[in-house]
């Protein structure tokens, strides 16, 4: 294959720049960024050699582009661009957990309806290579349960509370100052962000769109200094734990602060790190730990997807459905 692939990139924030930096380190890859769509083309940026535009149509309707990489915040706009690009026969890579987690029914249709491939490793666990692992290796092992720490901001806040005996409010402002929490941290601390990621993992693990009819989320906001102190005295930690499992026909999902002891794989997962444990029938429990966010880790997860795309890879979840149908 000597084809050279042309990429249209939506968004040039931290993840977009991380991807750009990572791609530069792989000059042998037969792919290059041809156009970048941003909100404001007049801002000074790295990547002077790139062509910037503020018109999305210049990307999604350009027949010369083979691949669209969507790395913007706005979930509604992202969904429109991704859908149109797939319709136009372009393969798409996205890191948009909110858009994908909220639209799994449609994502499932896209996988089955369009020939073009849609990948989104970077939407879950940042630098932890988990989506394709759950989609292939772990699903073959028959997944029973997924449990983990899927939100770095929440974990960072609880870790700081324990380390410095801070209140939730103190730890939150510190996390915001350090860049580990957003100015509006609601999605993170409420557990909603973790739920998006759980849903995506469950879809690939169980091979069907989970209907979250049994769902609970408890904010870490309710965790007090005293509770953390008590846990610490017993050699335990409080962690933001997300769990999803299939019980009969029901998929049960919860996100909440939980006491964990040192023999729990999540105990040693501190600060902004994420962890994902997958319990399987065949090979027991697997745990993966790593940075769940950040420019370069997430950017390199996007690059991994690009490499997979170029090698002809696509998720098995759709193929399985076709085979069954």
């Amino acid at each position: 294959m000597n084809k050279h692939y042309k990429i249209g990139l939506f968004g040039f924030g931290t993840v977009g720049q991380g991807f750009y930096e990572n791609l530069k380190k792989h000059p042998h890859l037969p792919a290059s960024i041809e156009k970048v769509c941003v909100k404001r083309v007049d801002l000074p940026r790295i990547g002077h050699e790139l062509y910037f535009t503020d018109n999305p149509d210049e990307l999604i309707h350009d027949p010369a582009l083979d691949i669209i990489i969507e790395l913007i915040d706005d979930a509604a706009a992202a969904k429109k661009y991704v859908h149109t690009a797939l319709q136009n026969g372009k393969s798409v890579i996205s890191a948009n957990k909110k858009m994908i987690g909220e639209s799994l029914e449609e994502v499932d249709q896209w996988h089955n309806e369009f020939d073009a491939t849609f990948l989104y490793e970077a939407a879950v666990g940042g630098g932890i290579p988990i989506v394709h692992a759950v989609d292939g290796f772990f699903r073959d092992q028959e997944v029973l349960k997924i449990r983990g720490i899927l939100n770095g901001s929440s974990n960072y806040i609880l870790t700081q509370m324990q380390q410095y005996q801070w209140s939730f409010e103190q730890a939150l402002s510190d996390a915001q100052a350090q860049g580990f929490a957003e100015r509006n941290p609601t999605l993170d601390i409420s557990g909603i962000d973790a739920t998006y990621k759980l849903s995506i993992l469950a879809y690939h693990a169980f091979g069907e769109v989970p209907s979250l009819n049994s769902f609970s989320a408890e904010s870490i906001e309710s965790v007090t200094k005293e509770e953390i102190k008590k846990a610490r005295a017993k050699g335990r930690k409080i962690k933001p734990v997300a769990t999803i499992e299939r019980l009969g026909n029901e998929i049960v999902c919860s996100v909440r602060p939980e006491l964990v002891d040192p023999n729990d794989a999540l105990y040693s997962v501190d600060s902004e790190n994420n962890a994902i444990s997958v319990d399987t029938v065949i090979s027991g429990k697997h745990t993966s730990v790593g940075k769940g966010a950040g420019s370069l880790p997430t950017g390199s997860a996007v690059l991994e997807d690009l490499k997979r795309l170029l090698s002809g890879y696509s998720y098995e979840v759709s193929k399985t459905k076709t085979a069954v149908a």
Copy 2:
């Protein structure tokens, strides 16, 4: 691609049978076992529909076979079969850590010399999907260090010593009775087995065959009841830790019993479980935990390799070298 791939299988022990059972669960895969080479064809076995032979030439020289899967104990024989099969243009999957770990110079030649693909996910970490991850994703992140528990027998013995205050000898006989240690456990408890696996990981992580000029292995045999008791009193555990890192031009490798505290990701890795932590420049530390051995986990790692092979995957380590040369 409607081609159906014909497999010649060497060995039908626990891993071979685990692979056979796993493959049966994937009837959609365009591959089937055509011939099985075993030492004794007269033994009663599962797999009555299979064709058994005791003549290796019937497999490695059969032009009708596309893929050879090598799952025997004898490293010298395995090496001969694998090499000849690759020479004959057959792709090969192996789980033979000893053969591969001892012959990395030649394995590296094979990757570069032959068009046929050679994969060996099951040689390291059993059910933990690590070789291809280190070969691709982690190498892109620039690996600094690999540290882990790579020998399930040693971990099982030390875990039992701590749990029941047993001596090494007591724990070893128990592990042998439970099937978690071999009758001749030297390779496991001495650290040599872990060294094979470390070398394989280092080859894929650093992109070159490591010359282990700075190598140390300390047997867990020297660990006493008293040391374990003392560690436990301090809230710590003694674990069989394998470490490899590049320091300048040198690759330093050690395998030895180490004190680990609860904030270490290896602390919660008990019994026969394995763990592999990969420290990278770009995305920090990743840890993977899971069953390091066993019929079904290892058999399913072999199946993963088969799926990768069918999708056209091969290790990047060889491609990179070709690109550089």
